[in-house]
């Protein structure tokens, strides 16, 4: 009996070993480090690392920059998340419509930003956002709007990053939504049409409920991805101006790999982990509860 059941574990061993060695051990090590003041002095001389209990976590509470980065990250997730999902859903529905021609071309166009290197994209967007020569301000001028210093003004830098991130990422979600839409049986719509439902009713009563699992998946993936906001501000603003685009991950990177405060950086990582974990749980709960 026992031997029979041990076979699957035997096959799982290689994968589990890899995960254990390359994932769990580093995570545990990082967890231990987050309770020390491991820094540049300690890299070559572990003796100088001091065990400091919860001091890193306590310091985080009083760290203005941490709160700023937390606030910025939430701002980004709350604004860019729904926006990105709405736009990708909209694009997916339009592209699934029977009225649209040249679908592959549009799909390709919308997906292009996803596969383009961010650094290349960032250069173009920096020109778009340029306060004096940028095309965005040029267009806004037609509506009588004064030039905005998009990346230089602390109030506008985050919206600028959001706009760019949404543009860069919505294509990926769109593809998943298109796949989800294709899984909705056509006869549901036909039946609804016979019953006299209009387009909006069909969307509300058929498309949205049938897409619920896809939407849950996308919102979780998007949330996790957006909480880890890093590359966009890193290349566009380096967290500035006035730290208005500093994200948690960027702050963690700075502390860890620029200033070598590994202990402090690890503590930030675990706080971020807790936040994402809680966010995911909340989303599961919300989706499970019967919809109003």
């Amino acid at each position: 009996m026992r031997i029979r059941y041990s076979a699957p574990y035997l096959f799982l061993t290689p994968a589990l070993t890899a995960i254990f060695v390359f994932f769990f051990i580093p995570v545990i090590a990082a967890f231990v480090i987050s309770f020390t003041d491991f820094d540049i002095y300690a890299i070559n001389n572990f003796g100088t690392a001091r065990f400091i209990g919860f001091d890193n976590y306590k310091a985080l509470i009083n760290d203005q920059l941490f709160w700023t980065s937390l606030k910025n990250t939430f701002y980004f997730v709350i604004a860019a998340g729904p926006l990105s999902i709405a736009i990708s859903l909209g694009a997916a529905i339009l592209l699934s419509s029977k009225l649209v021609r040249l679908k592959p071309l549009f799909r390709l166009t919308y997906f292009l930003p996803v596969v383009t290197t961010l650094v290349a994209v960032a250069i173009v967007w920096r020109f778009i956002y340029h306060p004096r020569f940028g095309i965005l301000n040029y267009f806004l001028e037609f509506f009588g709007i004064n030039p905005i210093d998009w990346l230089g003004d602390p109030n506008w830098a985050m919206p600028a990053i959001i706009l760019m991130a949404v543009w860069k990422n919505f294509g990926y979600n769109m593809i998943i939504f298109i796949a989800g839409l294709q899984n909705i049986p056509e006869d549901l719509y036909e039946a609804a049409t016979i019953d006299g439902a209009n387009g909006w009713q069909k969307f509300k009563k058929i498309t949205l409920p049938m897409l619920a699992p896809t939407t849950l998946f996308i919102s979780i993936i998007t949330m996790i991805g957006f909480f880890q906001l890093f590359a966009e501000p890193y290349v566009m603003t380096q967290g500035g101006p006035l730290n208005s685009t500093l994200s948690i991950v960027q702050y963690m990177y700075q502390e860890g790999f620029r200033w070598w405060n590994m202990g402090y950086s690890a503590a930030i990582a675990f706080v971020l982990f807790l936040i994402i974990f809680t966010g995911t749980l909340i989303q599961f709960k919300l989706q499970k509860s019967p919809e109003a």
Binding site: Y41, I43, T48, L151, L242, N243
Partner: protein
């Protein structure tokens, strides 16, 4: 393109050359940062010809990834024999206990002597009375200015004192049509000008053997307030993204003065063409008063040897080779990095370039920043942050400097603990 092609072919030949010659040659691993690594390859054949038993294996690391890669190498005991290091990075690697002390090598060398170098630059390589690096190429910051704009404002020579700098800035701003333009570019997200003016005012920046911040001390405060005044009065642009291209902005007279380093000489030459060709110059930095020459930063790259190298004698030979005036000059011709050895400056290539003259003068008045591993963190993460707050008016200068000192004291806590437990 041609240059790139030839150097990459060279690199390929080189790599194969190393793999192929399995005989008893000694191979020195040399890590270089940035563009220098590409051009150094052209100098190596001469060294290998002189020393048939030695080969130099160059590995190029981009500046942005360098610190990470080097520290990882130290942590995993994979350091090269020789490395190029920005001289402000030396304290970090001394803290990691990974650099060879070079005093004895120098005292028995005919080639490398302290007197051959600019004092301020040499001293950046000395930490607690021990020498850890030999200057390879050097840089500092001087004033780049528009001669035509300054003349229009009534000044026919570069500003020599703080007062003159401020007065001419006011006058530039008053020139008709200059309302939306600025006199000087002093970006708050570049710590250098704040530290330079602090040093000029006589501040030690940190105090008590670098145990505590000294930013709210009266001397630094004076310099800080002086610079913030330029932003507050509209003489310098506050937003950084207003100037995405400094060269274009300099050309457009968006600002008339800029404090920067030798790496920008060729860039400005490229942008200031035709009738603008003779409308700009470089000058040593102004000083706090007429009798004091303004100091600037002692920058540049040094050559360091890692202490677990097994080829120290050969590596030192190569350092000596790179420190010859003729080789230094060749290197300048290849990559435009200013030579560290003073003798190389007598050559007409350098002496004849009017833009470089200011740098030569300035190198006699350069000062090192505090030589502690925390320094970069202090200036990049803290000084720039509070400078930006002060410039934008989020904090008063007093509040900003006080908060800066508090943050810096926190950063230095570990250093204090280590010093007490020595």
């Amino acid at each position: 393109m041609n240059r790139f092609l030839s150097s990459s072919i060279l690199l390929i030949l080189f790599t194969f050359g190393c793999g192929g010659s399995g005989d008893d040659k000694i191979v020195i691993d040399f890590w270089t940062l940035g563009a220098e690594g590409e051009y150094i390859l052209e100098l190596i054949p001469a060294f290998e010809k002189e020393n048939p038993g030695i080969e130099v294996n160059v590995q190029q690391i981009p500046w942005t990834a360098a610190q990470e890669k080097l520290i990882t190498a130290v942590a995993s005991d994979n350091t090269p024999d020789l490395c190029q290091l920005g001289n402000t990075w030396i304290p970090q690697f001394v803290a990691l206990n990974s650099l060879e002390i070079l005093d004895e090598y120098v005292s028995s060398s005919d080639q490398i002597k302290k007197e051959n170098y600019f004092d301020g630059i040499w001293s950046t390589n000395i930490i607690e009375n021990k020498l850890y690096g030999i200057p390879w190429y050097i840089d500092t910051r001087v004033l780049f200015y528009r001669t035509d704009v300054l003349a229009e404002a009534g000044l026919n020579h570069p500003p020599q004192t703080w007062e003159e700098l401020y007065d001419v800035s006011k006058k530039i701003k008053e020139i008709p049509g200059k309302k939306d333009k600025y006199a000087i570019y002093l970006p708050a997200n570049e710590w250098a000008s704040f530290v330079i003016f602090g040093l000029q005012a006589g501040s030690t920046i940190l105090k008590n053997n670098n145990r505590y911040g000294n930013f709210s001390g009266s001397k630094f405060k004076k310099a800080f307030e002086f610079l913030v005044k330029f932003h507050k009065q509209g003489l310098a642009p506050i937003g950084i993204s207003q100037v995405t291209n400094v060269y274009q902005a300099f050309k457009d007279e968006y600002f008339a003065m800029y404090i920067s380093g030798p790496w920008n000489i060729n860039e400005f030459k490229k942008w200031m063409t035709e009738d603008l060709k003779d409308k700009w110059m470089t000058a040593p930095l102004p000083g706090p008063d007429e009798n004091t020459q303004g100091v600037s930063l002692a920058g540049g790259s040094s050559l360091v040897m890692f202490n677990n190298s097994e080829k120290k004698i050969e590596t030192w030979k190569f350092i000596e080779f790179l420190s010859r005036p003729s080789i230094q000059l060749n290197f300048y011709k290849l990559v435009n990095s200013l030579p560290a050895v003073k003798d190389a400056w007598n050559d007409s290539t350098l002496a004849g370039d009017k833009y470089i003259h200011a740098f030569y003068k300035q190198f006699h008045h350069v000062a090192a920043t505090p030589k502690i591993p925390e320094w970069e963190r202090i200036v990049f993460s803290k000084l720039q942050q509070y400078a930006e707050f002060a410039v934008r008016g989020t904090m008063t200068t007093d509040e900003a400097l006080k908060a800066l000192d508090e943050d810096v004291n926190n950063i230095l806590e570990k250093r204090r603990w280590l010093l007490e437990n020595e």
